[in-house]
Subunit: 240 residues, 2 copies
């Protein structure tokens, strides 16, 4: 975590003007907010904060992707969530906590803003729509986690992996020729940590799907070529 935090004077207001928690604000207010922010550029695989650490700052992901994960006592990793750019994260304060509930690691190169947690209450009080939009995001994440619980409880490995892929291309997909590619580097291991299985099983599945023309993949890159058939694959335990 090389701490090259820096307050750049040249952050443009347009950076935040279209991002939900700030979209209802005036230019002047966004200026205020940006002037308080630190900005950092991080490489792939860098921890932003660790589970259990005092929640001293909260973050906005301007570009890139964040992986939220937890590590068990026996050292196994479980990936809870992926966060796409334009979202706040590390907002422990919003759920009444003063330590981070999970570890955040960059899944790709990323640019993040951050503020000291003490300005949180100010933000909530002063900026109209900030709280509402924040809680909407929280609600979405809660819903996603809920869906994952249902999936893990009712679905076979094959369906869970299919679901995970579909979720990834929905949230972080990028159109390329011949399909939709997941927009950040992702390994079989990562996918297995998202779906509660082993990298071996994920590898076998992807190989099989590649033969059937559902996906195509290279090292750390996966492209879904036939999303529709993948959807058919994962019916059988999906929430209403």
């Amino acid at each position: 975590m090389s701490d090259t935090a820096k307050t750049l004077p040249r952050l443009d207001e347009s950076l935040l003007s279209h991002v939900p928690p700030f979209s209802k604000l005036e230019k002047r207010q966004i200026r205020e907010i940006l002037d308080m922010a630190s900005v950092r550029r991080l490489g792939e695989g860098v921890a932003v904060f660790e589970e259990g650490a005092p929640a001293e700052r909260f973050y906005m992901l301007l570009d890139g992707y964040i992986r939220v994960m937890r590590i068990t006592a026996t050292g196994e990793q479980v990936i809870a969530l992926h966060i796409p750019s334009g979202q706040l994260f590390g907002i422990a304060r919003a759920i009444g906590r003063d330590t981070y509930p999970a570890t955040s690691v960059t899944a790709s190169e990323a640019i993040i803003l951050s503020w000291p947690m003490r300005v949180w209450d100010d933000f909530v009080a002063r900026y109209d729509g900030f709280a509402t939009e924040t809680y909407k995001t929280l609600g979405q994440r809660l819903g996603e986690m809920n869906n994952r619980i249902v999936e893990m409880a009712t679905q076979q490995v094959e369906q869970r992996v299919a679901n995970a892929l579909l979720r990834l291309i929905n949230q972080t997909g990028r159109k390329v020729e011949g399909g939709i590619e997941i927009d950040f580097p992702i390994t079989r291991q990562d996918l297995s940590e998202m779906t509660a299985t082993t990298l071996h099983t994920v590898s076998r599945l992807l190989s099989a799907w590649e033969k059937q023309g559902l996906v195509s993949s290279r090292r750390k890159r996966i492209t879904v070529t036939d999303p529709h058939r993948l959807v058919l694959m994962c019916r059988g335990g999906v929430p209403i």
Copy 2:
């Protein structure tokens, strides 16, 4: 859902004065709140609201237990959460939703207060500490769900069931002679829906544990007689 809603004039202020979201309020304020509330007494196994329905009211559980569940397209049930008395539930508005994200069913006889959702914003704005305490509860539930995801991803059935039992006696346990009993009727089927397994497996496990003197159970009732040994049983995938 027999709608015997009724606004009783005799609800006592002391009902809410020690309940977190309202504990910082003056007697006068609690009076206001109670005067807006409807109160209902429900039998066991009654749905309070259903997933997907418009979130027209929010609820406070005064007595009893609530089971939060989801039903898949194939009809399987997954129990997401148990809510003990003294907590708000059905607070879709707090996470920016206008439909309920899950179904709530009484796990025992229960007494619930409810208010129309349109007063939610008033409550948040007018009553000090209401929002904060609410979000703390939300944070706890989020953390619990998070733990369940980690458990399901990393633990064996035996450990998951042990964990589920421990969580239940922590939240809803009642001291009885010879151990701690889960304070509401719970079947093997319920436990299996909480731990993503089958009632058969749960039954076998409980039988084995009963022989070892860890638990004792009757129809719809489970008592943990040796919590400590049960804790040892479930180490091996527990979050830090």
